[in-house]
Amino acid sequence: MNHALLIMTLLLAPLLGFLFNGFRFSSKDAYLAGTVATGAAAISFFCSLLLWKDLLALPVESRVIATHFFDWINVGALNVRFGFVVDQISAIMILVVTGVGSLIHLFSVGYMAHDERPTKYFAYLNLFLFNMLILVLGDNLVITFVGWEGVGLCSYLLVGFWFTDSQKASAGMKAFVTNRIGDAGFLIGMFTLFFAFGTLNYADLAAIIPKVPETAWLGTITIATLCLFLGATGKSAQIPLYVWLPDAMAGPTPVSALIHAATMVTAGVYLFVRMSNVLVMAPHTMEVIAWVGASTAFVAATIGVTQWDIKKILAYSTVSQLGYMFLAVGVGAFTAAQFHLMTHAFFKALMFLGSGSVIHAMHEEQDVRHMGGLKKYLPITHITFVCGWLAIIGMPPFAGFFSKDEILFQAFASPYGNKGLWALGVVTAGLTAFYMTRLMCLTFWGKSRFGHDKHPHESPPTMAIPLIILGVFSVIGGWVGIPHVIGGGVGIPNILEGWLEPVTAQLKETEVSGLLEWGLMGFSVAVAAISALIAYSFYILSPETPKSIAAALGGFYDAVCNKYYVDEFYQGWIINPLVEGSKALWLYIDVNFIDKATYLAGDLVSGAASFVKTVQNGKTQSYALYMALGVVVVMTIVLL
C-alpha cells in the first residue's frame, strides 16, 4: 500500500472521528460515540502495524518512510514542509500511542457510559490522538510544536471535562498555564536553533550540527537545548513545572491513563530522543537534564509515599518515572529512555485503568483509606494490577525491570553518568517499591474499610479486556530489551538496542565487567524487594507502625504530605507578585498614561473635526459660494 496514503489514513482516522462526534456533541449515546471513536483509534493502530511491517522489510540503514503533503511555510530562509516521517523512533511511538490509545478508548466506553456528555468526551479523545500522532510523526520541530500545542489543548479540555466543578475547571487551567510557560521555552529554543543553523528539520539538524561537543555554558546549542528542556519540563512534568500533573487527575480516569501517563507526558522524552544527535553536542544540558530528572524522580517518589488519593499516588509515580526517563536522556542512554517510555506506557496505563475500575466499583471513592480487601470483589482488576505493580517496582522478568535496570546501569556506567545519579535512582527505586506496595496493601489486600452500603463489582468486559491486554504487555513488554549480560548467554538478542541504534546518538561503550552489571542489577532488585516487604509488613501486619513513624517525623512528614509546599511557594512568590504587579501596572500606568493618551488622541480628532464640519452645513447657497470662491482662486492662480 502507498505509504503517503497509509500515513494520511493513520492521521485522518482520529480527525474524522473527532469531526463525527464533534458535530453531534450533544448526543447522549455513549455506545455510538464510543464505537466510532474506538474504531477510529483502531484504524490508526492497524495503519501503524502496517507501517511497522513495511519498515521491517527495509534494510537496516535506510529504515525511513517519509512523506510530505505540502509546503506549509515558505518565507525567506524558513522552509517548513508539512512532512511526516516514520522511522525507528516514531514507529515505536505510534504503535504505543495508537495501541494503548485504542485500549483506553475501549475502556472509556464502559467508564463513560453514564456520563452527561459522552460524545464530547470521545470527540476530545480522538482529537488528542490526532494531535499526538502529529507530534510524534512530524519531521521538523514546527510540526512537532503544532502537535505539542494540540495535545496541550486537549489535555486542558479533558482535565476540565467536568467543568461544573470549579476545582476541576481550575485544574485544567493550571495544566494549560503551566504548559504555556514551558512552551515559551520551546519556542525560544526553536528560534535559537533556526537562527544558528537555518533549519528546523530533524534530519538536517542532525547532519548540520557541529561534531564537537560545546564546552561553554553559553554556547548556542547548549542554550537552545536548555530552552527546549524547559518546554519538556512543562509537558513532561519535571521540576520546576511538574505541579500541574497531580492536579490534572481531576479529569476522567481514562484520560489520566492516556494523556497523563502513557502518551502526552512522554512527549518531552520523545523530543530529546529524536534530537539526540543535537543533544550530545551540549554536555552541559545533558548534565542539567540528568540531575533534574533524578531529583524529580526522588522528590515525586517521596511525595507519593504520603498521599492517600489513589490517583494522586499514581500521578506522583508518573512524575517519578518520567524523571527516570529524563535521567536516561541526561546520561545519553536514549535507547533506555525510549524503552522505559514504552514499558511505562504499558504498566502505568494499566494501573490508571485499574484505578479507574476500582473507583468505578467503589462509586467514585478515591481515598485508599476507605478501600481495602478489594481482591475478592475485583479479581481481574486485582490480577492485572499485580502485573503492573511488579512491573513498576522492577521485579524480573516484568517489563519495568529491564527498562529501569538499563537506566540505572547507564546512570552508573555511562561517560555522562556518575555514582550520585545512580544512588538517587536506586533510592527512588526503593521508594517506588514502597509506595506501590502500600497502594496495593491499602486497596486490594488486608481488611476492607468501606461501609456496608457499598457493593464493589467487577467492571464490564469493555473495561476488563483492555486491563487484561495491558497486563500481558506489562509482563512481556520488556522482553524486547533484555540486556546482553542476561540474554547473551542463552542467545536472546537485545532487539530494541539494535532497532534504535541507527537513529540515536551512540556513546562510546564503557567496558564494564559482567560481574558488576549483575551486581548492580541484583542490588537494585534487592532494594526494591526489601522496601516492598517493609511496606507489606507496615500496612498489613502492623498497621500502627506507619502512623507512629509519621508522628515521629512530625513537621517533616507534614511538609512531604503537603507536597513540600511547592504550590504554596509558587502561589506566594510567583503568582501573587505577578498578579499584584499587573494590577499596579493597570491602575497606574494603564489608567493614567495609556488610557489618557488614547482619549487625548480622540479629543484632538473630534476637536479638529468640529471646526471643519461648519463648512458642510447643508445650505445650498453657501456651497455655491464656495464654488464661486474656488473659481476665483483658480482663475487668479491661472491668470496671474
Binding site: 447643508g618 445650505k619 445650498t620 447657497q621 455655491a624 459660494l625 464661486a628
Partner: protein
Amino acid sequence: MLSIETFLHVGLAHYIFLSGILFSFGMIAVLMRKNVIVMLMGVELMLNAVNLSFIAFSKESGNLNGHIMVFFVMTIAAAEAGVGLALAVAIYKKFHEVNIRFFEHLRG
C-alpha cells in the same frame, strides 16, 4: 491711457466688460438672495452674460461658432428655467413661500 476714444469707439473690450458686469450681478443674485425666483433670474442673467461674450468673440474672430454655442446655451437655459420653476412651484405649494432654505427638505 483712458482717453475719450475709449468711450466713443465701441469695441470688443466694451462687450466683455459689460458681460463681466452682468455675470457678476447674476452671481451676486444667486449667492445672496433667498427668493428662488430671483435666484433663477440671476442664473438667466449669468447665462445671457456669457451669450453676450460669445457673440462679441464671434464677431471679432469672424466665424459663426459663437452663434451656434449661443443657440445651445439658450436651449439649455429654457430647459433649466422650466425645471427650476417647477421646483419653485412645488416648494410654494408645500410652504406657501419660495425661500431657498426650504430646498433643504429635498435631502433624504
